[in-house]
Symmetry: C2
Subunit: 186 residues, 2 copies
């Protein structure tokens, strides 16, 4: 086991991966944009809050600041290239929807765009934006849930039915093995 004391930055910051490569959807200032967000997290059950961490360098950051709502969509491994492509160009330079021919689904609870092709999705009302280092954590309250019922068994994603898109860092993508175990409360 190697140990590294961190004064400034670690050699790499990928130890907490893999993580779900979700996609943020937001519309503001007349622009619809999508970007992958691996730094996403549950924050509260009641009220249901979900967060995404975005760098101010991203075009999406400005849209999230201006918008009152955003979406987060969850996509299968088969869409890895589409998701990766979304992260490889800036909405500042390219209208990704037009350039990539993306399917845009409109929110039903909130006026937000969702990237089509998801097996689950959240419509989120923006409730806070916390600056943290070189990113901002945008917090949203859940107002709508989309769910492919075939993907979920006993209210948990069944990896034998849908291969969730996982990100390992360094442009490496994967998915969960279909084998799982349920461990009872003890």
């Amino acid at each position: 086991m190697e140990f590294q004391r961190v004064e400034e930055k670690p050699r790499h910051f990928n130890h907490f991966y893999p993580a779900i490569a979700a996609v943020i959807g937001v519309e503001a200032e007349g622009r619809v944009n999508f970007m992958p967000a691996v730094w996403n997290v549950g924050l509260s059950f009641d009220p249901p809050l979900f967060g995404v961490s975005v760098s101010p360098k991203r075009f999406t950051h400005g849209l999230l600041e201006a918008a009152s709502a955003f979406s987060v969509t969850f996509h299968p491994y088969e869409q890895a290239e589409r998701v990766q492509r979304l992260g490889s160009v800036s909405g500042c330079e390219v209208d990704k929807v037009a350039a990539f021919g993306l399917e845009v689904v409109r929110g039903r609870a909130l006026d937000v765009p969702l990237l089509g092709g998801f097996y689950a999705a959240y419509e989120l009302e923006k409730t806070a934006a916390w600056p943290a280092g070189d990113h901002t954590l945008f917090v949203g309250r859940l107002r709508g849930v989309w769910e492919d019922p075939a993907a979920f068994t006993a209210e948990a994603l069944d990896p034998a039915r849908v291969r969730a898109l996982l990100y390992f860092g360094r442009y490496r993508y994967g998915y969960p093995a279909s084998e799982t175990r349920v461990l009872g409360k003890r």
Copy 2:
């Protein structure tokens, strides 16, 4: 595709899983305690910040409030039962270290306990605690990194070498498939 409008709470809040079931380690008030934290997230590269979301109902929450530092450790699927067990009892009632015979590794950069058996681990200096709904997001600045060099290829976890512990919700655990793909920047 089903849609649910959310007024209060969703039917379930597992759509963003699977997520890494990391373990928080903290020492305060003369007590060492460990708990699983599926709600964990990268927050910043420079400075390197990492967050864990914990309910005030948890014994660990009080320790995290009192402590100036904490650890987060990453464990293989083979330790799923140990991790699950940590979440099934409260440190308020049980000294988990003694009751479960846990190996405690001492931090090298900070005076924190780490749960033994990890393939990677962070020593974190607490920098903030943000209340969000029914949880608090504790933010830590990375001061030390432990890493099993055999687990990481090209600075990303290699799922063919280590099976990271994934949580799907509803006590269901799994791990990533060994197949991955690297998708270049475009």
